[in-house]
């Protein structure tokens, strides 16, 4: 079976950010360790990944109105913001779902196949 490529979009919620902020250093370190472990467990399937800086660092450019319009913030104002990406190479959607069900951090993950 030929492998398929998907991008996992990790999505943070306000509640998750608050929970993380409320942790003490040791707890937070354990949370990060679980994430590192997940990446290590799935190293053979992950082709690249990136963690994003918080949403307040985002800048959006709109090109659909003649002159480009540059605004502060993410393209859609939402309580849920994309906080990272991972590109994976797996057999099918079930394999991607299996990986994502074991994801130990932010509470929402979108799975999207890539073209080609």
């Amino acid at each position: 079976m030929s492998a398929l490529k998907y991008v996992l979009m990790f999505v943070d919620t306000e509640q998750y950010a608050a929970d993380l902020a409320a942790m003490d250093d040791a707890e937070r370190e354990r949370a990060y360790a679980r994430v590192r472990q997940w990446f290590a467990d799935n190293a053979d399937k992950i082709t690249s990944h990136a963690h994003l800086m918080p949403a307040h660092t985002a800048t959006t450019v709109r090109l659909d109105g003649g002159e480009p319009v540059i605004t502060d913030g993410p393209f859609v104002e939402s309580k849920e913001v994309v906080s990272g990406f991972a590109e994976i190479d797996v057999a099918d959607l079930d394999a991607a779902l299996r990986m994502v069900k074991a994801w130990p951090a932010c509470p929402v993950v979108e799975i999207r196949p890539t073209t080609g």
């Binding site: 398929l4 959607l93 079930d94 779902l97 299996r98």
Partner: protein
């Protein structure tokens, strides 16, 4: 049944028996779900056109296969890989194993919306046409077509696999499949006696799917439970309505009209399921129906057993509707006053549900509060669109 309807029922039966097998064989042959599905649909459409005129062929599966293959060689001209495989293939397929399980797990994949799961299952596994699905659900044909097109595109583009889930995934995935079958059954069963009587009987399709699952997964107790549940409902179908389509409530049903052989078979299924010692919601609901079915008269109903089963069901799958039914059983165990106090606790969750008001009405009537009972029946009447239920409630408001 008029001759035209009899022909349609027979056509549906034959198509149902063969369409899923053909789809499964074609998917494993050419390795592509959506292409195989198209070919089967073409063949089914052709059968519905030819068979009523020419008669059902003696080997309907071979007939369907020949049409699908001829059409496939035509449309797959550009895809040499599929074409070669199809050109070399013969019917019956070389691997006689029944692949319809893989088919239904793909159709009911949780990455597809529920409406698409239902439409795809009916089309791919039961061989319904888009037009038949639209008619059965009273929705426009274009809506069904769009759901199916989108679902097939998602299966192909998102990489939804064509296989039975691994053991550690099987439980939750099977639950999705059973939900689809159960929803189909409800749609078919509850609408019977109405304007849909002449369209495709979805209860029949649900029975077929549950039977198929029971054969292919004989050690899954919830599959057996759902099959028993469907069979028990259908065994009582003849006594549920008057000839003019009015509801006959359980106490007033003529129990000699029940299919007692079918009830016996379903009870045996429940016993077999119970042997696996993995109780679940379908097994418990079937057991409740079985208790009703085994009582020779309404007065002989073992309400304590029913109350106990609803208590277990509420433990496994808690819901306000289950609690409502548990309270109805309590009426016959401990009396209307205690039942009413349980029913009133469900006000927040169920005040928009007509059966909650109708149940309150019955209990209030038991307790002699006739004005309050009529008011509750009036609320129930405003909340249901089902003509048979409306007529029953109107009678009660006027006469009781």
């Amino acid at each position: 049944m008029n001759p035209q309807a009899a022909v349609e029922v027979e056509l549906a039966r034959v198509v149902r028996e063969h369409a899923g097998r053909l789809a499964a064989s074609l998917v494993s042959l050419i390795g592509d779900f959506t292409t195989a599905e198209d070919l089967v649909q073409d063949a089914v459409e052709a059968a519905l056109e030819h068979w009523p005129r020419e008669g059902i062929p003696s080997n309907p599966d071979g007939w369907l296969y020949t049409v699908a293959r001829r059409r496939g060689l035509d449309v797959l001209r550009r895809n040499a890989r599929y074409r070669e495989k199809l050109a070399l293939a013969a019917w019956p397929p070389q691997s006689p194993q029944d692949d319809r399980l893989r088919l239904i797990f793909t159709c009911c994949h949780p990455a597809l919306p529920r409406t698409a799961q239902i439409a795809l299952t009916l089309r791919v596994v039961c061989g319904l046409t888009t037009a038949q699905i639209a008619k059965a659900f009273l929705i426009p044909e274009s809506t069904v077509a769009q759901r199916i097109t989108r679902a097939k595109r998602k299966i192909a583009d998102a990489g939804i696999p064509y296989r039975i889930p691994d053991a550690d995934e099987l439980g939750p995935r099977l639950a999705k499949v059973l939900t689809v079958v159960y929803l189909l059954f409800n749609e078919g069963y509850l609408s019977s006696g109405g304007e849909r009587a002449e369209s495709r009987d979805l209860a029949e399709d649900a029975d077929f799917l549950a039977t198929m699952l029971g054969t292919l997964m004989p050690t899954e107790p919830e599959v057996l439970g759902l099959l028993a549940l469907i069979r028990l409902h259908r065994a009582r179908a003849a006594s549920r309505f008057t000839p003019s389509g009015e509801i006959i409530q359980l106490p007033d049903q003529d129990r000699t009209l029940w299919d007692h052989a079918a009830i016996g078979d379903a009870t045996a299924l429940i016993a077999k399921a119970a042997g696996f010692k993995r109780p679940g919601p379908y097994q418990l609901q079937a057991a409740i129906l079985a208790v009703h079915a085994e009582a020779r008269t309404f007065e002989e109903t073992d309400w304590e057993q029913i109350f106990l089963l609803y208590t277990m069901l509420d433990g496994i799958a808690p819901s306000p509707v289950v609690k409502l039914h548990r309270a109805i059983a309590l009426r016959y165990v401990s009396g209307a006053r205690e039942a009413l106090s349980e029913v009133d606790k469900l006000s927040d969750a169920l005040h928009g549900y007509h059966l909650w008001h109708a149940t309150r009405a019955e209990l209030l009537r038991d307790l002699g509060s006739f004005d309050k009972a009529r008011a509750a029946d009036r609320r129930a009447l405003r909340l249901t669109a089902n003509p048979a239920e409306q007529s029953l409630l109107r009678q009660r408001i006027n006469w009781a």
